[in-house]
Every structure is written in C-alpha cells, then in structure tokens.
Amino acid sequence: MSDIAKSARGDLKLSNLTKSYGDFTAVDDLSLVIPKGSFFALLGPSGCGKTTTLRMIAGLEEPTQGTIALGETDITDTKPYQRPINTVFQNYALFPHLTIFENIAFGLRRRGIKDVDDAVNKALDLVELPHLAQRKPTQLSGGQQQRIALARAIVNRPALLLLDEPLGALDLKLRRQMQIELKWIQKEVGITFVHVTHDQEEAMTMADTIAVMNEGKIEQMGSPADLYDNPETAFVANFLGQSNLIKGTISGNDGANQIVDLFGQKISLQKDRSHGVDNSIYAGIRPEKFRISRLETATSGNVLTGGKVEDVSYIGVSTQYQVLMPWGQELMVFEQNDDGVAPFSVGEPVNISWEPIFTFGLRGDEDAEAGTEVNPDEDLDDE
C-alpha cells in the first residue's frame, strides 16, 4: 500500500469541487464533509452530478477545480490505485477471467500481501457466499455478483467505500433485502460508506445522512427524517417521497405559528418549518399525514373541507385516494388499512385533516413540479 493510503484516514472533505465538460457543469462548486464511519447517501435524479462526484472521489475523473482530502491528506492529484478508497461499481465490473476467490484477492495481492486466504474467506462469509469461491463471475446471478463486488472492495479495509447505484440492477424484493444487509455490513466493518443512488427509499433506509443533489449542487442535506419531514425546497419535497403542495398566502401570526390562507380556508404552520416564505407560499403536506373523513365525522387540527373522492386505489398495506378540492386541485391521500373502516368510494364528499405539526412551507415562487418528473427518456445508465 502506498504511503498516502496509509496516512490518509479520517473524514472525507470535498472543497469547491467542480467538474465541467466543455460548457456543461456536471458538478458545481461542491463543498462537503463526510464524517469518518458514517453511511452517507448522495441522492438525485440521473444527470444531477452524483456519479461524477463519486468518480472524482475514486480518482477516475479529474476535478476541473477544487480539492479532495481524506483526514489531513490532500488526495486530489493522486492516482486511483494510490487512494485507500474502493468502489462497488454500478454493474459490478468483476473480472470475468478470474474466480470469485481471485476477484476478492485482487486488491490484497496488488498490495503485496502473501497470505490472502483468511481475509478472502472472511469477506466471503460476510456476504454469505463462501460456497462460490471457485466459480467464475458469469456463473453468478446479479444478486450474487453484487455481493462479490462488495466483498472485493471491503476486503481491503479502505478508509472509504464508494457505492455507485450498487442495487440498481436487482429486482425489488432482492433490493430491499440487500439494503438491510448493506446497512448491517457497514455497521459491522465500520468503514465510511458513500452511496450514490436515485432511489429515495433506498437512501432513506440505509443512510445516516442524505445529500439531495440537483443540477450539480446540493439542494439539502440532513438525516432522512429531517429531509422527509421538513424539506426546504419543492425539489426535495417531491423527489424524496411525494408531497401535496397547495398554493396560499400568509394571513397572520399565532405565536410560533403562521396562519396560512389556502383558497379561503385557514390552516396553521410552525414558523421553523417555513422556508424563505414571504407572503406567497406553498403549504406542503405528505399524503400519509392526511386523514380522510366523512362529513359527519369530527375532525381536529388543520382541516380542509369540500373534497370529493376522485379515485381509490387499493394496494394491500394501504389505500391511495385522489381527492378533488373545491379549487380544482387533486390531493393525494394514503390511508393505512388498519382500522377496519369501510373504504371511501369514488364520488363521496369528504373532509381532509392533519396534525398542524406536519405542515411545511415553501417559497410561493418555486416550481411546484420540481423533482416530480419521471422522465422516460432517461434510464439508469444515462449519467
């Protein structure tokens, strides 16, 4: 191992990191500290610059500007093979000509370690595939390849492990299981993980801290609960889960709360959850925070009346409603199927209520659709 690899341990620090391709700026003046031992997720849509950032950290792309440091050591100008950083590539990039054992041993052997058996076998145990040591990568399923790619990186005990959409090629059920395992493995080995993904549920399940990226910049950074319950921009509100954003105006104050007028109906909003709002505002509420009720049922908290059920979609765990409000907007409501109450039917008049604490306020001049687009022109590999 190079001297750099030995000395460079500690927090990862990106300072003013920029990457331009001609006129296009993929990563725009990014500064960021990722504490040692944390599980950090870079979340964003295709083309937001998250993969470019990852590749600069790995040394596979050269930054146009800015520096990358691990602990006290500046590694900006070092080669990939000099960095104590390993990567789990998006399509695994296993060596097709080597056995699984030799794939995992590759990094150890390059660092001149003679007796690799113990370390490799431990890594195989960690990913629960010790019986595949003598197979070739093409004989493995996608899920198995993913685990081997992880073992191949972890066996080197790097200061930093980069994961580039490592679960993107797996199917849903397997992905959920691997999310749990990855999180467990990270706790087990204590290595800093930097995880790049466009799947918000994946980021929320696994990461301690999430940075939401958009167009080369970080929109918001924080714990999953922070980001989900208190998004600061429409992009974050829409990209991380779903949101109902209702246009309104601030009509007064009530202690720690602002009073918001939504098409004539008043609701309250905690001031510390109101972001950069002046007069015009988008009041945001997550669909699962809404409670839907028949007109005769008593409601408390914030209430919006005059709704009509437009669509009912049963999906087992929950039922999803589209409720048409008097001002023409359709609101999404998720109700968990746990109370034995008969579901509402299409056309039924309903009220909607929620705990005031769940309201968040966004600037009224934002694009309420930001981050909602599902663009069929873009696929996983586009970036």
């Binding site: 596979l60 093979y81 390993n86 990039a93 060596f95 590759f106 390059r110 660092r111």
Partner: protein
C-alpha cells in the same frame, strides 16, 4: 446439413486417397494407383524434415512479430479510435485488396538494393556494405509477418474492443498501476483474440510458399515450396498429398496443445 459437410470434407477424402498411392509400374510420369502405402508418409517426412522444421520456425517467429506489432495497434484503435475506429480498420485491411503476390514482390523491392531500406541502414552503419536483406530468412519472415498482419489485427481488435473499460477502472481502484492492470486484466481478457489471431496467422504461415519463393533463397525453402514443386515439377502427387496431411496433422496437434495451454476453453 450432411450434404453440406460432405461438400466441405470431400477434398480431404480425395487427398487422403492420393497420399497412399504408388506409381503405376511402367506407366507415364504422373500415373498412380491406390496401394495404401502408408510408408509414403514416413518417406516424405524423413526426406523433408529440414523444411518441416523451417516452416514451423519461420511461422512461429512471424506470428510473434505480428502479435508484437498488432497488439498495440489493435489496442489503440479499440480504446483511442473513437469515431475513427472504422476508418482505421479499413486502413489496416486496405493493402490486402491487392494481389498477395504483388504485395510480396513489393517487399522484395523495398528490401532490395534499390529500395530505400538498405541504403538507409548502410548509411547509419546498422548493416555492412556487403549485407543484403533479400534472399534471406529475414526477408521471408518479414514478408510473412506483413502478409498475415490483418489476420492478427482484426481478432485482436474484436477481443480488446469487447473489454468493459470499467473492469480496467476496477483494477486501478484495487491498487493495480497501469502495467499491472495490463498484465493482470487487459491481457488475460484479450486472450481469445490473441489465440484466434495467432492461429489465423500461424496456420497459413506454416503452409505458405509464396514468401519463401519470392523473398527467400534455396536455403530458406519451406514445406509449402516442397509440396508445390512435388506437384508441379516432379508430378509426385502422393508425396505432395502425404506432406500436406502431415503438415495439417502437425498444425492440428500444435493448435490443440496451444489452445489447451492458453485455456480459452474457460474463456469462451
């Protein structure tokens, strides 16, 4: 299907037949009858073992040289060619639209006293005034190297072009520098191309006679020349056929051993 394979294999049967014939007693030159004389093979081999050895020696050297020239070329086209890839491949193949004979003769002129190579080398004192390049083993091998170069370059290119560049990145990520990455990843992954290219070069080179005839001397005669002269000049069909089969068998054995060693069976 059966018919088609018969069509492919028919000449082989015919050759096999011819190879064990003997001259008709008292017949004209070139008249033979079937006597199943397998001694023909032993006679032919013993008589020409020198040319046999030379064929394989020259073919091996030419193959190694072609590999050394074609690998960097194919690598550059595959990884650096960008949108000019196809154009570069056409350039590699273009000279081979002219006659094989004429290309070989062109080399004779280039390497000859009136070409520019010999005077240049003499000026720089690399070869002595009395050394010539034609009519030598050097010229034969050079000609063969050149003539079979596209057969080496194209499969190499196809194989290198198919390497996922991310596996090379992964190698760098796993503490391998450029040279180690080449030795441990690029080269092993391009082995199918190396094997295919060396076979496609070695096999015709071992059976070649044109290069030796044009660029060589009587001291550089290869097996192909013997077969040709047996056929056309001495009209000794059985010996020519027997030599041809012996050559084919030797090539097949060598190729099998080589393919086993190179371990492509696992790679395919």
């Amino acid at each position: 299907m059966g018919f088609l394979f018969t069509f492919f294999l028919l000449p082989l049967f015919n050759l096999a037949q011819t190879s064990t014939q003997t001259p008709v007693g008292g017949g004209d030159t070139g008249q033979y009858e079937q006597t199943f004389r397998f001694q023909n093979y032993i006679d032919a081999f013993v008589e020409n073992r020198e040319q046999f050895g030379r064929s394989f020696l020259y073919a091996t050297i030419a193959t190694v040289l072609a590999l050394a020239i074609a690998y960097p070329l194919a690598y550059a086209i595959a990884f650096k060619g960008g949108k000019y890839k196809n154009f570069m491949l056409v350039l590699v193949v273009a000279p081979f639209f002219t006659s094989f004979l004429l290309r070989t003769i062109a080399w004779k002129q280039i390497l000859g006293e009136e070409g520019f190579v010999v005077p240049t080398l003499r000026t720089f004192g690399i070869i002595s005034e009395s050394t010539t390049l034609t009519s030598s083993a050097f010229a034969v091998v050079a000609g063969m190297t050149y003539n079979f170069l596209p057969f080496m370059t194209l499969p190499l290119y196809a194989s290198i072009d198919r390497i996922d560049p991310r596996t090379l990145e992964a190698s760098g990520d796993l503490y391998a520098n450029g040279f180690t990455t080449f030795r441990r990843v690029t080269l092993p992954l391009s082995m199918p191309g190396v094997v295919a290219g060396t076979l496609l070069t070695f096999i015709p080179a071992a059976g070649d006679y044109v290069n030796a005839a044009i660029l060589g001397s009587p001291q550089t005669k290869m097996l192909g020349n013997v077969i040709e002269s047996r056929y056309f000049k001495i009209v000794d069909y059985p010996t020519a056929a027997a030599l041809s089969f012996t050559l084919m068998a030797a090539i097949l054995i060598l190729v099998t051993v080589y393919v086993r060693k190179a371990g492509t069976e696992e790679l395919v």
